[in-house]
């Protein structure tokens, strides 16, 4: 399964995802510009992505705890998600995401 990730510089990368991996882990493993400081523990919001319009319903809305965490970034949009809270599965094959500025490493 593949995901398409547009980085902060506007370049789109097609990444091989593995069933059960967190989307954050796929993006980090491929060396894209994602800080993911807390390693997926929903404690940092530095894995912030925008979900492609046609994918938002498939991925679903953030949990209450994730909404709280999203308060700590200044560039939230209606399609914001924390990518460590999205698990790779067949249903997400072809998923399109854009990395938020607030996910960038320093």
């Amino acid at each position: 399964m593949e995901i398409h990730v547009t980085d902060q510089a506007g370049e789109t990368h097609t990444l091989e995802g593995l069933e059960g991996w967190r989307v954050m882990e796929v993006i980090r493993d491929w060396g894209l510009n994602i800080k993911a400081e807390c390693g997926g523990a929903l404690s940092c919001a530095t894995c912030h992505v925008y979900v492609g319009a046609e994918w938002f319903d498939v991925v679903g809305a953030p949990s209450a705890e994730e909404e709280d965490m999203l308060d700590s970034v200044g560039d939230v949009r209606p399609n914001s998600r924390l990518s460590c809270q999205i698990l790779m599965s067949d249903a997400l094959d072809g998923l399109q995401l854009t990395l938020a500025a607030s996910a960038a490493k320093d």
Binding site: E37, S72, G74, A100, D106
Partner: protein
């Protein structure tokens, strides 16, 4: 506190779990240490990022939370009475002619130490800078990430951004002295203590402050002096007069000054050997998440092991002529005396 000078055996930079345990291993060898950390309390990532979350891989503890581990480490090192200097960043380290080190903090304090242990983890915790173009130019002039002096905000048009305790507390504290105050948060739900949220809502009802649901779009001003903050709100774009902006988006780790200390680095980590965990500068050690060596795992337990070996090497530098006998805390009365249990 400026102009203050402290002389000690060891300065540990960073009071995260690995730094804290170093005080135990150093203490058993009669070495006294001082901690410097930019946070306002011990525990590093455990205390700042996940105090309530469980850790399952600390040997001997089937489960322990970040805060419990911190509290336990503090109790464990208490017999050695390490001293803590919080809310300070170590800016520079310079080796002196006699081989010792001179460290200077951002509060202009000077520390003299025979050995320096860098336990800086993922770097120093610093306020998150919101992704707003050109914000750097305003920082420390009209954009602040904390309130050091309330007077800087007196009679100003203040915009505070965020929904946590810092944002709400400063909204309540600054309101009586400002010219105007606007609280901006992306939604009408707050993580802050309910009592502060209620007080904030009362002030809004009384017309004493504004609350706008939205996010910062851009800043307008010149020479670092802010004039307006442009907001993207649910009701469209708005411009608010602002001479001070306080964004409260929590903390993030930045490598910070460690990069400038002349140490061999590898991708934001400090290169060490695996016998002594010494850096490319003899006498400066690095343990915990901040170091790099083949096979490194960024786990707390790795940092504990590194602390034990580092302490042996530090002892040889500080007391080269003293013979160190290997002993167990279980059976050595000498060690137990140091721990205050014999």
């Amino acid at each position: 506190m400026s102009g203050h000078e402290i002389t000690t055996d060891v300065v540990v930079i960073g009071a995260g779990p690995c730094g804290l345990f170093a005080a135990f291993e150093l203490g058993l060898l009669d070495l006294k240490c001082h901690f410097i950390d930019i946070l306002d309390r011990p525990g590093g990532q455990c205390a700042e990022l996940y105090p309530e979350k469980p850790i399952y891989d600390i040997p001997g503890f089937p489960v322990v939370t970040g805060q419990q581990l911190t509290d336990n480490l503090m109790a464990q090192i208490a017999p050695f009475a390490p001293e803590f200097h919080f809310n300070r960043m170590v800016n520079s380290i310079d080796k002196q002619a006699d081989g010792s080190f001179r460290l200077v903090t951002d509060a202009d304090e000077v520390f003299h130490a025979k050995v320096v242990v860098i336990a800086a983890g993922g770097g120093s915790f610093q306020p998150k800078r919101p992704p707003v173009e050109g914000i750097e130019a305003y920082e420390n002039k009209s954009v602040f990430y904390s309130v050091r002096r309330m007077d800087d905000f007196r009679d100003q048009d203040v915009v505070i951004v965020g929904g946590g305790d810092s944002a709400l507390d400063w909204t309540l504290n600054l309101q009586p002295i400002v010219r105007s105050l606007t609280l901006v948060h992306r939604r009408d739900a707050f993580k802050a203590a309910p009592a502060s949220v209620n007080k904030m809502r009362e002030l809004v009802m009384e017309g004493k402050i504004n609350f706008l649901q939205g996010q910062i779009g851009s800043l307008e001003g010149e020479n670092g002096q802010l004039k307006h903050v442009h907001l993207a709100t649910n009701a469209g774009d708005l411009s608010v007069p602002a001479t001070r902006l306080l964004p409260f988006f929590g903390l993030t780790m930045k490598l910070g000054p460690v990069a400038d200390w002349g140490l061999a680095l590898n991708d934001n980590t400090v290169v060490v050997d695996t016998e002594k965990f010494e850096t490319s500068v003899p006498g400066i050690f690095a343990i915990g998440d901040i170091n790099a060596y083949p096979g490194k795992l960024k786990l707390i337990l790795s940092g504990f092991h590194e602390a034990a070996l580092m302490a042996q090497a530090a002892k040889k530098i500080i007391a080269p002529n003293e013979r160190v006998v290997f002993q167990y805390t279980t059976s050595s009365t000498k060690l137990q005396k140091k721990l205050g249990v014999a």
